[in-house]
């Protein structure tokens, strides 16, 4: 009995020690990752494309507002056959080319 208790205390002590590792916690990493941002920008791009309006001022809107409020670089470019979405906030880098 004593042996079991001491061994388990020892193991628990090791587990406690392991948890001391310095770094970001999972929730901080989740907060850091701009999942919603990227989904939002993609969604917005498809939305204004389907509305068939002049895309240039809207792209400037998205780029300016994202830099101003979120400190992230966005670059959206259109050609007749492809659409490029580029997002970079220094930690996460996202680049998508959509063939139309």
């Amino acid at each position: 009995m004593g042996l079991i208790i001491s061994v388990s205390i020892f193991l628990l002590a090791i587990i406690v020690n392991q948890s001391m590792l310095v770094g970001q916690t999972t929730s901080e990493s989740v907060l850091d990752f701009p999942k919603a941002e990227i989904q939002d920008i993609r969604n917005e791009v498809f939305r204004y494309r389907s509305a068939e309006v002049d895309p240039d001022p809207i792209q400037a809107d998205i780029e300016t507002l994202t830099l101003y409020r979120k400190s992230a670089l966005v670059d959206i470019s259109n050609t007749s056959e492809r659409l490029t979405i580029h997002y970079n906030n220094g930690v996460t880098y996202y680049h998508e080319v959509i063939q139309i």
């Binding site: 310095v22 770094g23 979120k70 400190s71 580029h86």
Partner: protein, 262 residues
């Protein structure tokens, strides 16, 4: 069973007292050994654990500062357990720790003098000074830096980056300044209250791609090597200055985090 054991048990030569003394002696020696060698080790571990705990706290605080800066949350607070040292708020002042950003073509200072006198950006810091004396852990300009025995490392980096996906190279520098109304210092459990203020945003579209020099000035070589090593991720350097070649656009944002209480 009982019959058999009764037969074997012959205790005429056994002294309980001697057995007791032997056991007691072993135990006492064990306790003495643990006290002599084990306890200092444990105390040392505790001091290390305190520093580790504070590093952890600083990274959590960095996460809060990121929320204030990049997610535009107006106010944050975080509970800190500070043991084995003192946590203090060093608000920005005209001290010896500052940054400069210079366009090498024509030697233009890029940090606006209107907001930052002398074109110098003084970040201030949230600082933990360990009881052991030689260990400092600081949250400075959005980075977590640690100084130990004359050397320093960066535990978590600020959000500076170069974007060269397009035809032009864009350099984005995010600065964070610590401000407060009072000089706070604390040991024990404290609640750090922070609020964000309107950032200053500056962006330069250079007429031609130019080398940009970033300088970090520091005395006592506090966080000298931490920043030098970080600058090396942009371009090779041997001191705390780095020159990033052919930058077309520079975007700088200067955030201010105000400490309301501790």
């Amino acid at each position: 069973m009982t019959k058999k054991s009764k037969k074997i048990h012959k205790e005429s030569g056994v002294s309980e007292t001697i057995g007791y003394i032997i056991l007691f002696g072993i135990m006492t020696t064990g306790i003495a050994l643990v006290t002599l060698y084990g306890y200092p080790v444990l105390l040392n571990e505790q001091a290390n654990a305190n520093v580790k705990n504070m590093e952890r706290n600083m990274i959590a605080l960095q996460s809060d500062v990121k929320s204030l800066n990049f997610k535009n949350v107006p106010y944050r607070e975080n509970t800190l357990q500070i043991s084995g040292g003192v946590f203090k708020v060093e608000k920005f002042s005209t001290d010896t720790k500052y940054f400069k950003v210079i366009n090498e073509t024509g030697n233009y200072q890029l940090i606006p003098a209107a907001s930052f006198p002398g074109n110098e950006f003084h970040p201030g810091q949230l600082l933990f000074i360990s009881e052991k004396g030689d260990i400092l852990v600081g949250l400075q300009n959005g980075a977590v830096v640690k100084r130990e025995q004359g050397g320093s490392t960066m535990l978590s980096e600020p959000r500076w980056f170069i974007d060269s996906s397009g035809s032009d190279k864009i350099l984005v520098l995010i600065f964070t300044q610590i401000d407060s109304d009072a000089d706070y210092a604390k040991s024990g459990i404290g609640i750090l209250q922070m609020s964000s203020e309107q950032p200053v945003e500056v962006s330069y579209l250079l007429s031609s791609a130019s080398p940009i020099r970033i300088e970090y000035h520091d005395t006592e070589s506090d966080y000298f090597s931490a920043w030098r090593n970080y600058f090396n991720t942009f371009s090779a350097t041997t001191d705390s200055t780095v020159t990033i070649p052919s930058v077309k656009k520079v975007i700088m944002k200067f955030y201010k985090v105000k400490i309301l209480g501790l």
